[in-house]
């Protein structure tokens, strides 16, 4: 009887579900498929015909890829490497400083704590988009303009990681700390030797999040980086210039720019979701 019910369920609701899942997956993936197909076509075709699903095998070739790897415009991999370097530095430093600050908020009580924490959350509101102009002027004034540090420093304590880590730390039993204090461990020793190792699952979740955002970051890099320090998304944006025809490199470049982050996510997606859960994203 049980099997009969299961079968009937499959024919009705199951078929509808299958259709729904197919539609959602199609909406999600079609743009990716279009750009992948376009990467085998001459770059100027995209300008005149747009991106579609036309499969004309006679016109498809690997010229764009050849141009990207062996063409004169070798800069792509310089910017690719810049992006890797920036993403690595930003992620490691943001995770460290955000957890450091979150520890301060989670473990100590003092006057004005709620106010200060509110100010940190205000950072979420007053983001770089609003402060573009004064940051641009400030970085020129202090001589950081053009260097990668101009982009990294303002984002060392990111609101979401601070919020998330604090939530995670509040969930940890405080007995650990008292036991360590009794054993003569200093406050900093507690943080470095006990708390940091305990925070690993939340580091995985936020590491993916910060890494993804840094890899794709656009506003601050386009504003503050000099030409030789540009990241990939800024470089791709310069290719969008309507006056020159760089579309062949742009298409393949865009395809390649997604690959590292997709690999990263595919490898760590379990940690990402598990870590978000462990952080108790209650809000």
């Amino acid at each position: 009887m049980d099997t009969v019910r299961k079968n009937r369920k499959f024919s009705g609701a199951g078929a509808a579900m299958l259709l729904l899942f197919t539609v959602i997956t199609a909406v999600t993936l079609l743009p990716f498929i279009c750009i992948f197909l376009a990467s085998f076509r001459p770059g100027n075709e995209i300008m005149s015909y747009g991106l579609g699903l036309n499969l004309d095998f006679s016109r498809m070739n690997l010229d764009n890829y050849h141009m990207l790897f062996f063409g004169e415009n070798q800069n792509y991999f310089l910017y690719f490497f810049n992006s890797l370097k920036y993403t690595f530095l930003q992620t490691v430093l943001t995770l460290f400083f955000s957890s450091f600050v979150a520890y301060g908020f989670a473990m100590y009580d003092f006057r004005g704590k709620t106010l200060l924490f509110g100010l940190v959350l205000l950072m979420m509101t007053t983001a770089v988009e609003i402060l573009m102009l004064p940051l641009f002027l400030e970085m020129q004034k202090i001589g950081l303009y053009g260097s990668m540090w101009a982009v990294i420093l303002p984002q060392l304590t990111a609101p979401l990681p601070v919020f998330f880590f604090r939530q995670y730390l509040i969930g940890l039993p405080k007995d650990y700390l008292d036991a360590a204090r009794v054993d003569g461990c200093t406050e900093y020793g507690i943080f470095f030797r006990i708390i940091l190792p305990l925070m690993q699952p939340s580091f995985a979740a936020m590491g993916i999040f910060v890494g993804m955002n840094s890899w794709n970051s656009f506003v601050l890099p386009v504003l503050l980086l000099s030409q030789e320090n540009r990241t990939l998304s800024v470089f791709l944006e310069t290719l969008l210039s309507p006056y020159k025809n760089y579309y062949d490199i742009l298409i393949v470049g865009a395809v390649f720019s997604v690959i590292p982050i997709v690999i990263l996510f595919a490898l760590f997606q379990r940690h990402f979701i598990a870590g978000m859960t462990a952080g108790g994203i209650k809000g």
Binding site: P31, G52, L131, L133, Q269
Partner: protein, 302 residues
């Protein structure tokens, strides 16, 4: 307050020092990269200045602010931000929640869909903007291609070229990009719910649908509010996708506050007015976010 003994006093002091050290980076960064730039924004907003250090800075008082208040283009941009905000909250969050509900019901066998459906969020706004600009191209783009297929004759759908559609087309693209983020957020929310609650509901005779609507969704309340707050703030300060896709066009049809500010500051080099726009943006976002918190988030749990 009770008198502290020597030992306890020393402990209290060392704890206070430790707290100060742990919070120092946050406070320092807050002052250097937040408080100072905000004050600077309001200072520059009272100047007439083209941004070059050698150029003259003329103090014009509140002139830029008066212009801003009467600037129809700015209020149009603000209206677009509000439309984007309302649509984002109404589309992305329910959709993200629905997708999360499917994936949660399916469990581990839907892991592949979890990755596939998350892909749009992994792409940079530059790439998404470029991609959709050409997908929506009238001559052979995907949408026109599909329309041609259904109409049976050559049909051109011009979504980005005309004014009211362009904004909604952009809103659709934003939804495509950000819904996966809320999906993962709600997946995490679902897995936070104790499995014993599901078992208890089943024992009490509830089916899956009753469990979702009567037990799970009410428990997701706080997550729902945080998601709304994030979406609200995100839509009001939105910049990069629009900049890469339409640059605010056609003729201001998709102009947002941030793109307007960028144009004023970095294309017209009117730093004073650009700063006034940024200041206005700051005030509007803060007020809307605070009102939202007051109205919808009754109790904060920190």
């Amino acid at each position: 307050m009770a008198k502290l003994h020597g030992m306890a006093k020393r402990d209290a002091r060392s704890t206070a020092i430790a707290a100060t050290i742990f919070l120092f980076p946050a406070v320092a960064l807050l002052i250097v990269y937040m408080v100072y730039p905000i004050i600077d924004t309001f200072m520059i907003s009272r100047l007439k200045w083209n941004g070059f250090y050698t150029a003259e800075k003329i103090n014009v008082g509140w002139e830029n602010w008066i212009t801003l208040i009467n600037d129809q283009l700015f209020w149009n941009a603000f209206l677009h931000n509000v439309i984007l905000m309302v649509c984002s909250i109404l589309i992305q969050i329910p959709l993200g929640m629905a997708l999360a509900t499917f994936l949660d019901a399916g469990g581990r066998k839907f892991n592949l869909f979890k990755i596939l459906w998350f892909l749009p969020y992994l792409m940079s706004s530059v790439a998404v903007g470029f991609l959709f600009y050409y997908l929506l191209a009238t001559n052979g783009g995907l949408i026109s291609g599909i329309a041609t297929l259904f109409a049976g004759k050559r049909t051109m759908v011009d979504l980005l070229g005309k004014s009211p559609h362009a904004l909604y087309a952009v809103i659709g693209v934003v939804a495509w990009q950000y819904t996966p983020f809320y999906m993962v957020y709600f997946i995490a929310g679902y897995s936070n719910i104790d499995t014993s609650l599901y078992e208890a509901a089943v024992i009490d005779g509830a089916n899956r649908r009753q469990y979702i609507f009567k037990v799970a969704i009410p428990l997701l309340g706080p997550i729902f509010k945080t998601a709304c707050t994030m979406s609200l703030i995100g839509s009001l300060k939105y910049f990069d996708l629009i900049w890469n896709m339409t640059q605010g066009g056609p003729t201001g049809g998709t102009e947002l506050m941030a793109t307007y500010m960028y144009k004023m500051s970095f294309q017209k080099f009117n730093m004073g007015y650009g700063s006034a726009v940024a200041g206005g943006m700051f005030i509007l976002i803060t007020v809307i976010a605070l009102l939202f918190q007051k109205v919808f988030v009754v109790k904060e749990d920190y």
